[in-house]
């Protein structure tokens, strides 16, 4: 909507509570709105995308800033969520009425004393500034005596904070580009811990006097502690202070302050020199407790141990999904190297391929497990990845596959799956998941086996005790499906990344079920409903999209009945 259209909208609309309005610019209007006990002055700033997006609202009554919740230090009113909303853009008149009356109702309501607690609970939001943020690996639920800050040294001899952490908890060095921060300076920040919630300043400005009033409001013990520690700081140009106060949730309010003086000064907690510039830094939380919850991962899985045998197209995708579910320990077992053949159907890509010869003029390939470990640890800060570059037969022989909560076998070959089944039966692992794609994009399977109930062989054995194709196959057996592009050495089974992702999803769901103690043995299958390239089985024809069946022990199974 342009300025003229918006002007017409205002002219044609009659909103009960609107006392008057003034057009400040094409898309900016100031309003006087009649509330229950007072008149509110608000500004609406539209953009030309209105009515497909809502205007930003600002409270112009500066004396009310710091008294009302959901109104930040600049007066921005949080009157509606801006994400995930469905706007009835077909009726802009009604929308404008709704916006103005909603803001009026909110402001009237928020001025009640009972909402004051929300204001204290949103202390961080009150000062939120996306341009002044600091990464923090400190626990959002803990109080500290002091924390450490990596800083970038500036030409004016002051420093800019980059990330903060606690002394006794090492940084996840492999995560992202954390290692490159090792060259930064390290300084410490004194932490001021309140035992009650704190209220933002009226008017919104974080002044030195306001800071001093906060320090004065500390209980005597904490005030004595921070004074004692502040006195130990040498005189310098800048100081950092971390404010920490309780919230309704377990996470505490945390906000980092930087005090910058024109000349060397004592610590602001013990100084009365008001001539300092105070900057506030919003905390970007990276601590495990916060990230797992924020990202939808499951924190109880942090103690879980999962192994993936086979890190090809399906296995690598499972590794990626499992790592993002919050599992704390992942072991990858595969003896293959990663090369360019795989990049269109593997979770890894060009980052894991080397074209540069090393000192011995060799172009060394990465093992899939090493490349995956590197990729996952760079992506996820709180996971231990153990790479085992050997065949599963060797790994089992060396007792490297034991004591896992879940093992996922993503080898693909039915014979190797059955061999793994036999070898794993004698280990102390309880839940094994086998998964594979069927050829040519026909579908895929994940089989969750509780070893106390049955085993994989139970679905491959006939009454005579012979190994035969499982009933749960999608393609009729004995068809020539493998392709080669470069002769016998380049023989491969055709399937795509999407196929592998669907199979990986089934296996990951099975794994998470098992970690939630849902251990019943079952097979999940997906199929391509439009598949008609090869002959299919009765099982294929028996369902649409996906299906799941319980698996029971076969009387003929030599392993289970042995």
């Amino acid at each position: 909507m342009n300025g003229a259209e918006l002007s017409n909208l205002y002219l044609s609309n009659t909103i009960d509570c609107l006392v008057s309005y003034t057009r400040q610019s094409d898309l900016k209007y100031d309003h006087k709105i009649q509330g229950k006990k007072r008149t509110w002055k608000i500004q609406l700033e539209f953009n030309d995308n209105f009515p497909y997006s809502l205007p930003f609202a600002t409270l112009l009554d500066k004396d009310q800033i710091g008294l009302l919740p959901h109104v930040n230090q600049h007066g921005t009113i949080c009157y509606a969520e801006h994400d995930g909303i469905l706007i009835n853009y077909s009726d802009p008149e009604n929308l404008l009425d709704y916006i103005i009356s909603t803001i009026r109702n909110h402001l009237d309501r928020w001025s009640l004393k009972i909402f004051k607690d929300d204001l204290k609970d949103e202390y961080e939001g009150f000062f939120f500034n996306p341009l002044n943020e600091i990464n923090s690996f400190c626990c959002p639920q803990s109080t500290y005596s002091r924390i450490y800050i990596k800083t970038k040294y500036n030409k004016d001899k002051t420093s800019t904070p980059v990330l903060m952490y606690e002394k006794n908890s090492p940084l996840p060095e492999k995560f992202s580009d954390i290692q490159s921060t090792s060259e930064l300076n390290i300084t410490s920040a004194l932490c001021v811990n309140f035992n009650t919630k704190i209220t933002p300043p009226i008017g919104g400005n974080f002044t030195f006097r306001y800071f001093k009033s906060l320090i004065d409001s500390l209980d005597e013990k904490e005030k004595a502690r921070v004074t004692r520690l502040a006195q130990k700081f040498k005189n310098k140009l800048d100081f950092f202070v971390l404010l920490s106060a309780p919230r309704n949730s377990l996470n505490r309010t945390q906000i980092l302050l930087k005090f910058k003086y024109p000349a060397k000064n004592e610590h602001p907690i013990v100084s009365d020199n008001e001539k300092c510039e105070i900057s506030l830094f919003s905390i970007l939380r990276l601590h495990k407790k916060y990230l797992l919850e924020r990202g939808g991962a499951i924190s109880q899985f942090q103690n879980s141990k999962v192994a993936i045998v086979g890190c090809g197209s399906v296995g690598s995708e499972i590794a990626s999904m499992i790592s993002k579910s919050g599992v704390g320990s992942l072991t990858l077992i595969d003896h293959d190297e990663f090369n360019a053949d795989n990049i269109y159907r593997h979770n890894l890509g060009g980052n894991s391929i080397t074209f540069t010869p090393d000192s011995s003029k060799e172009i060394k390939k990465n093992f899939k497990v090493d490349a995956l470990k590197k990729s996952i640890e760079k992506d996820i800060p709180y996971i231990r990845v153990n790479a085992v570059a050997m065949t599963f037969q060797h790994a089992i022989k060396q007792n490297l596959i034991s004591n896992f909560d879940v093992i996922i076998v993503a080898i693909g070959s039915p014979t190797e799956n059955l061999q793994a089944n036999r070898l794993l039966k004698n280990t102390d692992n309880k839940i094994i998941i086998y998964c594979w794609n069927e050829a040519a994009g026909a579908g895929g399977h994940s089989v969750k086996i509780d070893m106390a109930q049955c085993c994989l062989e139970c679905i491959y054995i006939n009454e005579g005790g012979e190994i035969v194709p499982t009933y749960y196959s999608l393609l009729a057996s004995d068809q020539n499906i493998a392709k080669n592009l470069t002769g016998c050495a380049g023989l491969f089974t055709p399937f795509s990344y999407i196929d592998s992702s669907q199979t990986a999803l089934l296996a990951t769901k099975h794994c998470l079920e098992a970690l939630h103690s849902i251990t019943e043995s079952s097979i999940s299958s997906w199929k391509n409903d439009r598949f008609d390239s090869y002959m299919v089985t009765d099982y294929f024809s028996s369902f649409s999209h996906t299906t799941e069946h319980a698996i029971i022990k076969s009387d003929s199974c030599g392993i289970c009945n042995g």
Partner: protein
Amino acid sequence: MATLQAQFKQFHDNIKLGTYEENQTLRDKRDLLINELATELKNEKVPDTDRALTFSKIDQGSYKMKTGIKPTDGHYDIDVGVIFDVTEDEYDPKKLKKLVYDIINKRNNRTVDYNKPCITVNYASGYHVDLPVYCKNSEKDVKIAWGKMTVANEWVDSDPNGLNDWVASISTESKKSRQFRKCVRYLKKWKQKHFSENGNVAPPSIGLTLQARRHFIFSTDNDLLCLINIVEKIINDFSNDFDIKNFRIVHSIDFKLPVKPYKNVYYKMTLNQQDVFYKKAEALLESLCAARDEDCDHEASKILRQVFGDDFPLVDKILRSDVKPVINSGTSA
């Protein structure tokens, strides 16, 4: 003027916790402990006599008074008194309380604390039973064993039956006593949402119950008005006091038990905690009045949700069009 009586009814149904009679589980938990105590005491004698040491139980607290609300953390709190058939001269209070403590402390599925007013039995499954121990000089003269394990205990005047009777005597008309109990539950829900559970920050529920009992005036089909009256009177029970330590005027409260020992029910709260209680009660009253004065039920329900939490139903907004201009869809990608 909003009353939101239908929403108050729904809210009450959402938060209400049944009595022993209505809740088999709670009854079982209570009976298990009392039966265990009776079995273990079977061969116990009153000191220096051949008389068997016997007792009767008395249900106390919110289950008895029918004012219980569902705990947010699933941590149920059961109060059941043990009145021994001994006089204060026949048994030392600490010895008798310790006898109960030792009997209860034999099992390993629970921990037992010897507290000043009672023995507290904590179960791993998340509930605890408070067992005050009484002696009985006569039907009208009951005393509670009072004191911690580390010091000498004493028999202190008490009247658990009288307290139950006083609360129950709110009215002979069921609709009136029902509204009283509903208002107590509303107050408890407010307390649950706005006070920390740590220490004595929150006013004890028995205090709110007794103040509500004292000030209750029935209001036909209008729980909101009934509650407003109670909260106004609760605020009036406060008086100005001087906080010497912090050199300021604060609000303090001294509300006496209506039965023996007639002491202040808020005696554990510090001056500052009493002042916070006053300020929160003021904020409560302001909100209840704002809800009452609200023309729009939707807005009134939003205020009451801030007071009581999401158990209070949100009334749909009446719009000038059937289609809502903005809907939170919750979608994301």
